[in-house]
Symmetry: C2
Subunit: 309 residues, 2 copies
Amino acid sequence: MSAPIYDKVALIGLGLIAGSMAHAMRRGGLAGTISGFARSAETRGTAREIGLVDEVAETAAEAAEGADLVILAVPVGAMGAVAAEIAPVLKPGATVSDVGSVKQAVIAAVGPHIPDGVHFVPAHPLAGTEHSGPRAGFAELFDNRWTILVPEGADRAAAARLERFWTGLGANVEEMDAAHHDLVLAVTSHAPHLIAYTMVGVADDLSRVTDSEVIKFSAAGFRDFTRIAASDPTMWRDVFLTNKEATLEILGRFTEELFALQRAIRTGDGEQLFDYFTRTRAIRRGIIDAGQDTAAPDFGRSGRTGGQK
Amino acid sequence: MSAPIYDKVALIGLGLIAGSMAHAMRRGGLAGTISGFARSAETRGTAREIGLVDEVAETAAEAAEGADLVILAVPVGAMGAVAAEIAPVLKPGATVSDVGSVKQAVIAAVGPHIPDGVHFVPAHPLAGTEHSGPRAGFAELFDNRWTILVPEGADRAAAARLERFWTGLGANVEEMDAAHHDLVLAVTSHAPHLIAYTMVGVADDLSRVTDSEVIKFSAAGFRDFTRIAASDPTMWRDVFLTNKEATLEILGRFTEELFALQRAIRTGDGEQLFDYFTRTRAIRRGIIDAGQDTAAPDFGRSGRTGGQK
């Protein structure tokens, strides 16, 4: 094992992502010491109990003090306040990064608090499960997944070091600008999540079909939606509020296309439906070829998918 | 192993469902002989090559002749024509059933062709994968899944025998009337599939986000949609055209709710979003408790979900 990439890493927030980072840092020997902080006393207690990090601090500033890398792993809506709180103790030459699902809003909220001489390199690991909390993490979460770095003019050496760190956590790294990141994620993640939440809500509302029927017969396609829709509500509220524009744009296009397909159903235009459904198969093939999924068939018992940001 | 439930079973259509039935019948010793027919010569050739059934016939009537149970396993839109073709050779006392995802339309199309003295007991196994064709089947497909019987006044003894057959294939069986079946499936399967197809189509259309980006970053939620949207285009075209009313009703409600959530995003109503997302978590919990999925987290590599009718 080579030398740690950072002597001290501070995790602000101790949920699924930060917890998985702690496990993966230890696996890879990437950090000398890991400190951590969570706003909830219960989460801090659990983190101490399971030894999630080396030191659980009582404030974000205490955790961040002296750290060479500080990771903001709180909901996007809370990042600005956390950045303001830790700003005074940040070590010169340190790197501040985050794991937020939205980048333009994080940069706007966090950027102004970063002192001169501290590097801010936003990041977004595209990994997750529908579970949350300090016990949900595991070392393999980032393996062969993508982490998007959004350096936006940050110091190149600091960005390259953070890239080595993420590679050490198991991820593939790609750089992108913030606006493009937010659009790509609106398509691949944010809009699909809102749609899944909506469909699950509709099923729950429909009085002529009981909840128990919905649950019992969920394997018929609906189950995948419920898994996506089980993700952390606070995190997702913040995603939609902070990536408003791109999400609404994609949802607008989605609605337009859905209306076209609804009209095809209503008018009995089988050819349009068949052509549409044939086209979407090719995309699936591409995802399997890209190694982001397997072609193994599912028959509804493995339950190993979804809920990723 | 006990005696077969039917001496001769005929499978009209040799795709994923029929193929899985053949494997599961053999596993359970449920049939004396299995005959099969598929419209495509290529499919018949493959079925012979892999020994999918005991005898591959050259016409549907040849396969159905003398059978104690005939299963119509063709797209819903083709069921009426197949029923007309086999009607003259159906053995008195035989049972005709199907595996269509829609029940009212199948009853309307098939029912009139069924001769006196032959029992028609429609059925729908809620199982599938995104794969299709004669090589896609496997014996475990129906294990612990639900099969819905829609006897609608059929002979009770014939319905009870078909129920024993499906139980032998591994399924849990429940009876329902045709209209309710079509509504329940519109919620749990048909609307989710159309929504998934639509979202995948939108991603493919968006010129500012490349297909390769969509594919690369699909693990962020979108991947589940592509799996659902990779299912057989002919089958799904027919589902939407024949369960038009219920599907359009559910899609109408879905659009209504989606608009409400879009408005909440636009106006920044975080509370509404948070409450909505919290409610949908409970449904997920119910599905895990009902044994239709597991709580195991996924991190995007197992690929074992979806595409079920």
